[in-house]
Structure formats: C-alpha cells, structure tokens
C-alpha cells in the first residue's frame, strides 16, 4: 500500500530521505576514504573529508601485516566450500519443498525455519570439542562444516522460493514430451532457476565470509580473515583497523549490489 501524504510537505519528506541516506552512506564513505588514503593521513587530525591524498599504502600495509594474506585465502576457501556443499545438499530439499506435498513437508519446513532461533554461539562450542576428537580442529574443513550447518537452512528456504517462482507446468510439459523428471529439471527448470540460485549462492558466500564467532572458536593458528582481524583489532594500529574494516565490508556491499533485484523474492518468502 502506498501512503499518500497530502498534509505533509513534500520538501520535508525529501529532507528526511536525504538525512537518512546520509546516515547510511557517510560511514561507508568515511571508511572507504580512510582505507584509500596514506597512512599519515589516517593518523592526521583533523581528518581530511575529501579524497585529496589517494593511496593504496594503508590497504597494502594491512595486507602485508602478519597472517592476513593466508587468513584471506582460508576465508575464501571456507566460503567456497560452504557455498558448494550448502547448495548441493540444500537445492534438492528446496526443490522437494516447492514441488511435492508430501507427508511431513510442513514439519520439515518448520524445523528448517526454527534453526534460526538457535544461535551460532551454541553450535560452535560443542563442534570445537567434536572436531578436536576428529582431528579437524583449527582447519579450513572444520570451519566450512560449521558454516554449512549455518547456511544450509538458508539455502533450502531460498532455493525453495526460487523454484516456487517457476511454474511446475513447465516440467510437466517437458515430461509429456518425453523427458524424465530429472531431465526436465536439468533442461528446463535449472536454466530458469539459475539467476535465483546464483543469488542464493552469493548470499551463502557472504554468510560464511561474515562469520566471526564460529571461526574464532574453531581455529587457533589457522584463522579466517574475520577471526584474524578480531584477534588483532584492539592492539593493531589505526591504519590496520581502517583497512580491515573496509576490506571486510566491501564484499557485502558488492553482494547487495549484485543481488538487489532478488532480495525481495528471497526475503519475502524466507521470512514467512
């Protein structure tokens, strides 16, 4: 529903919108400006509010700091494994939820949704004990397993809403024309679902990229990037923190830009 606001002066609304846009944009602008200025500029006061001394020295100082590049690599590996496993395991379940009215479907969906009520905090601690026993503590695989547990419910629900948006008459038509169900899904449904699945995959990637708690609990010497940054954050010099803030934030902004058109389809149903 659109609210018409005849009594409110339009100018006031634009002003309000402008203020709120600034509230969101300014912190992003500041951290970006800081990350792309010289280290001297980061230490200087008053800070420059316009990009005058553009430089990559602050960012490269961060990237050359102890352990950052290996941590970055591990973060990417973990997120890639999480993405692959969560989608491989979750997509069939999402398809089943969107296509079949089977006994226990509601129960399954409900338990998937209710995983959101259980914080990652409670999941990570027992996993760390188990992983020590299995010999995969402090490893990329261990973190990826935890992240997949975290991202899988999300993958199931989003892929289910992606498939629900594609008419099942299409695969019935393909099956009438001689395709098996698997063939119909592969040739007809998957190509149509691909953009939506890609959006879901991208979001799974960022769920893994963003996690600090599980990664901090499950690793010690082989940290992922957020865990590494969290360990170093309070002792590190200002340029490190500024560059780290930018570096951890930037992918999330890119992701939102990439999947902006899918957010409402994904969210609208995930939330229900």
């Amino acid at each position: 529903m659109t609210l018409r606001l005849p009594s409110m002066p339009r100018l006031g609304l634009y002003l309000l919108a402008f203020v709120l846009v600034l509230w969101v944009i300014l912190p992003i602008y500041f951290i970006t400006l800081g990350a792309f200025s010289t280290q001297d500029a980061v230490y200087s006061y008053p800070r420059e509010l316009l990009p005058r001394h553009l430089s990559t020295s602050t960012l490269s100082f961060f990237l050359h700091s102890n352990g950052v590049v290996p941590a970055l690599e591990r973060s990417v590996y973990v997120a890639a494994i999480t993405l692959a496993v969560a989608l491989l395991v979750g997509t069939p379940a999402g398809y089943a939820l969107s296509r079949f009215a089977f006994r226990g479907a509601d129960m399954f969906r409900l338990s998937i949704v209710s995983t959101r009520a259980f914080p990652i905090v409670i999941l990570a601690i027992p996993l760390s004990v188990t992983f020590i026993r299995w010999g995969i503590d402090d490893s990329v695989i261990g973190v990826a397993i935890a992240h997949t547990a975290l991202a899988l419910p999300f993958a199931v629900l989003t892929t289910s809403s992606v498939f629900a948006g594609i008419s099942d008459e299409l695969e019935e038509a393909a099956m009438t024309l001689g395709c098996s169900r698997f063939g119909a899904v592969r040739r007809v449904i998957l190509p149509l679902a691909l953009p939506g699945l890609a959006a879901a995959a991208i979001f799974v990637f960022i769920i893994s990229w963003n996690d600090v708690f599980a990664a901090s609990v499950l690793t010690l010497r082989h940290r992922t990037l957020p865990a590494q940054v969290l360990t170093a954050a309070n002792e590190a010099p200002l340029p490190y923190r500024v560059a780290a803030g930018f570096f951890l934030m930037a992918p999330s902004l890119v992701v939102i830009f990439a999947i902006r058109n899918y957010l409402f389809t994904m969210w609208g149903r995930v939330m229900k």
């Binding site: 529903m1 009594s7 379940a93 296509r99 600090v212």
Partner: protein
C-alpha cells in the same frame, strides 16, 4: 489392453515418485541432524558436566561467579532493550518513506539496504574509525565549531557513551534487515484500505495507527522475532569499539572458549543466550499477536 498396461506403468511410476521427496530432503536432514541437532544436545552435556564427565552444576556456577558475568548480562540486556525499539522506529520511518511516491525511491531503497550484509565486526571497525579520538566525528564537530578540541568518545569511564556508540553501530548495520521485511509487509496491504480511510477523513497518523500498523503486524512480528534473537548474539562490534571495557554474553562465551580454554563454561554461556532468546521470542509472540491468532483464541 494397451491402456491398462499404460495405466499400470503410470501408477507404478507414480508410486516410485512417492519416495522421491524424501530422498531429496534426506541429505539436508542428515547434515542438520549431525552438525546442528547433535551439537545442540552436546552443548547441554557440556554445560552440565564437569571436566571428568560427571553431571554437575560446576560450569553454571563458574559462569555465575565469572567476574564479568553481571557486566556481560547487564550490557547484553541493555543493548537489546535500547536497540530493538529504536531501530524498529527507524525501520518503520525508512519503510514508509520508500513506500511513498517520492521521486528516486528506488535509489533510496537501494541505499537503505546497503548495510544488510555487513558483519558486526566490519560495522564495529567502521564506526570505531568514526568515534576514535582522531576520527571523523571529532573532525566534523570541530569543523562545525561545536567542539574546540577532540573529545575522547570511546572512554571507559563513560559507560553510557560506550552503550550509545554500540547502539548507533548496530542500528546502522541491522536496521535494513527489519526495513526490508516491513517494506514487503507494506506492499502486501491493499491500497483500497488506506484510500477508504482517507475518504472518511483520516489523517496520516490516524491511518498509520488504525490501518497500516494493524495490517503490518504479521511482518512486525516476524521482524521482531528474528531481530531479538540476533540481538542476543552481538559481540564483535562491542569488542571492536569498546575493546575490553564492555563485554556481552556471546563475548564471554568466546573468551572462555578461546582464552580460558574451558568449553564447559563457554557452553553454559551459550545456553544462557539460547534461553534468553527463546524466552524473548515467546514474549514477542505473546505481545505482538497477529489478528488471525487473536481470532483463534
């Protein structure tokens, strides 16, 4: 004869499909059973066993006697109590704004959802660079002539300032998450409702109170539920901004696990977080009843 045979194979094929959905959900169910449900059970075990593996309240007692326990509990509850109402008000304003016929509202909506995927650690570092002594806040305030020398905003002696800084950070980061649910909810309200109210002479705030908010209740309920649950898990932004001056329950769980190497007490903290989030989820469900539920009672 041919038709009978065909029907039989079709029926057989159908029967074969009956099992299919179960095969499709099996990997997910298996994975979540092993790596989600089982750890949950284990964490109860951890929280109520001593190091020797005997049932005991020792971890819970150790948590209660933790020097930072009351600090963490108080700060977590305070954060939830302050952040959630404030950011719901802000999210509602943002959602209504996006829902008006302002020019450029598509762009405004895009800007509003930008922080949606930013982690609490990243947000903490971003706002730390604003609040720090040589930071942007002091630069802007001094430039405007409001202060004449840099103020130390991140000051352990000013507990309320630290609270305010974490609140602002969390509001910046996670309001878009609520807004997106509210926008989706607003779009589900038929526009005839508002128009009818308008015909009968209802002003903006009257329509908001009598039409929009009641119709928005289901969306509000979902948003509130998820937000409250997530709010109890906050820790990285608190560490990034306040260092060790402030701590939360999740922060303590991490410290006991990572620094004191005691999974039992860490699990006790985690369990406390779970209990608090479930209790507040139940509270939300009681307080924000959707119209359908009210009819059922």
């Amino acid at each position: 004869v041919a038709t009978v045979a065909e029907t039989r194979t079709a029926a057989q094929r159908m029967r074969r499909w009956e099992g299919l959905p179960y095969w499709l959900i099996l990997p997910t169910a298996g994975y979540l059973a092993v790596f989600f449900a089982w750890p949950m059970v284990k964490s109860f075990e951890l929280a109520f066993q001593d190091i020797a593996g005997n049932w005991s309240f020792a971890p819970v007692r150790a948590m209660y006697n933790d020097i930072d326990f009351s600090l963490a509990l108080k700060f977590t509850l305070l954060l939830v109590a302050v952040i959630v109402p404030l950011q719901f008000a802000l999210a509602l304003v943002m959602a209504l704004l996006v829902n008006t016929r302002l020019r450029g509202r598509g762009l405004i909506l895009f800007v509003f959802i930008l922080p949606l995927a930013v982690s609490d650690l990243a947000a903490g570092l971003v706002w730390q660079s604003i609040f720090t002594e040589q930071g942007y806040l002091n630069t802007v305030l001094q430039g405007l002539g409001i202060i004449d020398h840099p103020t130390i905003w991140i000051d352990p002696r000013h507990s309320n300032w630290l609270l305010g800084e974490v609140v602002l950070t969390e509001m910046w980061r996670s309001t878009s998450f609520i807004m997106i649910i509210l926008v989706a909810g607003l779009q589900g309200i038929p526009k005839e409702f508002g128009e009818a109210a308008e015909v009968f002479g209802a002003g903006f705030f009257q329509r908001l109170r009598t039409v929009v908010l009641p119709m928005l209740k289901p969306a509000l309920q979902v948003a509130l539920l998820l937000r409250v649950i997530f709010a109890f898990e906050v820790f990285a932004s608190v560490i990034a901004i306040t260092g060790r001056s402030k701590t939360t329950l999740a922060g303590q769980a991490l410290r006991w696990q990572g620094e004191y190497l005691d999974s039992h007490v860490a699990a006790a903290y985690a369990l406390l977080i779970l209990i608090l989030s479930l209790v507040s989820a139940a509270l939300v469900l009681r307080l924000v009843r959707t119209p359908r539920e009210r009819m059922l009672r």
